[in-house]
């Protein structure tokens, strides 16, 4: 996928404007940062881009295809939304296998590798509910990476992770960027934004106010 364009995107829930008139373009081979206070609309913007919610106004266009018109969800997407879990009764491997069965793009070998890539043991027999917070975050990241998607939407990807894993995830994201993917990260971590992002957008009260790139990123967080 070459680009995703948001044109006048708005979302209203119970007469409250969550997203308002957002115009932004994301291109392949770049990592974009979304920063903003809690409740500013970052996660809702991810839901809008992915196609999980209907827009109140505007459109999301992915390589010329309009979301909810030409396509129902982004065709090749890996997503992580903060505080969302997997099926608690299944192991990490079983969870990813269940999700992989939807599109049948990958087999057990790829799932196994995706779990190892984020530093977990694919043979771990513990159910997801028994995972620590950090392990839960890792397995959710593994599900985002496992099908080698062209677009990655990651909401607080380094939440609850130890320093070693944070570095690992950053390396993975830079590798994915080199593969020519569109990567969008929402984060409160100044280091993540500084280290990873080519362009940073600040979102407040559902509006994208500022766009900066390169070295000035630090001022945004």
């Amino acid at each position: 996928m070459d680009k995703i364009e948001l044109i006048n995107v708005s979302k209203e829930i119970k007469k409250k404007k969550i997203l308002e008139d957002i115009n932004v373009k994301f291109e392949k081979g770049k990592i974009y940062g979304l920063v903003g206070k809690n409740g500013s609309g970052k996660t809702m913007l991810f839901r809008a881009i992915s196609g999980l919610i209907k827009l109140s106004g505007g459109m999301v266009v992915a390589d010329g295809k309009v979301l909810h018109k030409d396509i129902s969800v982004l065709p090749s997407l890996g997503i992580v939304i903060e505080n969302t879990g997997l099926y608690p009764e299944f192991t990490g491997f079983e969870n990813l296998k269940l999700l992989s069965k939807i599109n049948k793009k990958i087999g057990d070998k790829e799932i196994w590798e995706a779990i190892k890539r984020v530093g977990l043991d694919p043979a771990d027999k513990r159910s997801f509910r028994k995972y620590s917070l950090g392990m839960k975050q890792k397995i959710v990241l593994a599900q985002a990476f496992m099908e080698d998607p062209e677009v990655l939407l990651l909401d607080e990807p380094t939440n609850a992770l130890d320093e070693e894993t944070v570095n690992l995830i950053r390396e993975i994201l830079l590798e994915e960027k080199e593969k020519g993917k569109i990567i969008i990260i929402a984060s409160h971590s100044r280091e993540d934004i500084e280290y990873l992002c080519d362009e940073v957008y600040k979102i407040s009260n559902g509006r994208i106010n500022v766009k900066r790139g390169g070295e000035s990123n630090e001022e945004m967080v």
Partner: protein, 265 residues
């Protein structure tokens, strides 16, 4: 495979428990049709409170089945909904696929329920002249009725959560049974009351309250009313189509990750 085996065992056990709890198993003088009506088809001879409570008790296997499969579709809205639905490129096709699975599981459960009833009936009465029509109608009624209510629980749960979904749907079914209590000496099954009776899902569910010409009519037609056995089949079939259609529409309209009523996910 394990799931199918579980369904078969549960379906069989449901029927056996029903027979042991509510029927006179020593009624060896009955023929196949008469005994099968009692063993499987929820027959009650009057609309008194006592008989309606017995009817409700006989429906417990259905309620148990509905608890399990009433959240079959809805469960995807509780856990991993973001990761599940971000991979679903065609939600309508997915919903129809899930609906087909529910009807398949319903069919397996009630096939084993009916087959057990047939086996018990033959064993108790010694009459092996199986009234096939009676068994088939009972099976189809049970499958379609339970499919409709499983789907209803799933859809209501998406908006209200599974607890409310089950309470509301059970409430509808219990009200459908106990409202039959109004039919007594003063309110006869004629005219408008009969029309209302024919719209009630509970009255459509009981095979022996229907009318049919031919051999089957000998075993059913308990109230001697014009209530064609095939019309109820069409009634349940239409309800099934409506609920699947409405579900397909709803599933495409909702904001998946905003409708979760249970826990984050």
């Amino acid at each position: 495979m394990g799931k199918y085996f579980f369904l078969i065992i549960c379906g069989s056990m449901s029927n056996i428990l029903n027979i042991f709890f509510y029927l006179d198993i020593t009624d060896i003088n009955s023929d196949f049709g008469t005994y099968f009506i009692m063993a499987a088809s929820l027959a009650q001879p009057t609309f008194t409170s006592g008989h309606l409570v017995l009817l409700m008790q006989s429906m417990i296997p259905m309620f148990a089945f509905q608890i399990v499969y009433g959240v079959y579709i809805y469960k995807h809205f509780c856990c991993a909904s973001v990761y599940y639905f971000s991979r679903q490129k065609n939600r309508t096709r997915w919903f129809i696929g899930e609906s087909v699975k529910i009807i398949k599981y319903t069919a397996i459960f009630f096939a084993s329920y009916i087959l057990t009833a047939i086996a018990v009936t033959i064993g108790v009465t010694g009459d092996s002249k199986v009234v096939g029509e009676l068994c088939i109608y009972t099976f189809l009624y049970f499958v379609l009725y339970n499919f409709v209510f499983c789907m209803l629980i799933n859809l209501v749960s998406i908006f209200t959560g599974s607890q409310n979904g089950i309470i509301i749907t059970y409430g509808i079914q219990m009200a459908s049974v106990f409202v039959l209590n109004v039919f007594n000496d003063k309110v006869q099954l004629t005219g408008i009351p009969l029309k209302l009776f024919k719209l009630n899902p509970a009255s459509n569910l009981v095979v022996s309250w229907h009318s049919s010409s031919g051999k089957l009519g000998k075993y059913i037609n308990m109230f001697n009313i014009d209530f064609d056995i095939n019309v109820s089949l069409i009634y349940f079939f239409v309800l099934s189509l409506i609920i699947t259609g409405v579900g397909g529409f709803i599933i495409n309209k909702i904001d998946v990750t905003l409708e979760n009523k249970e826990e984050k996910g």
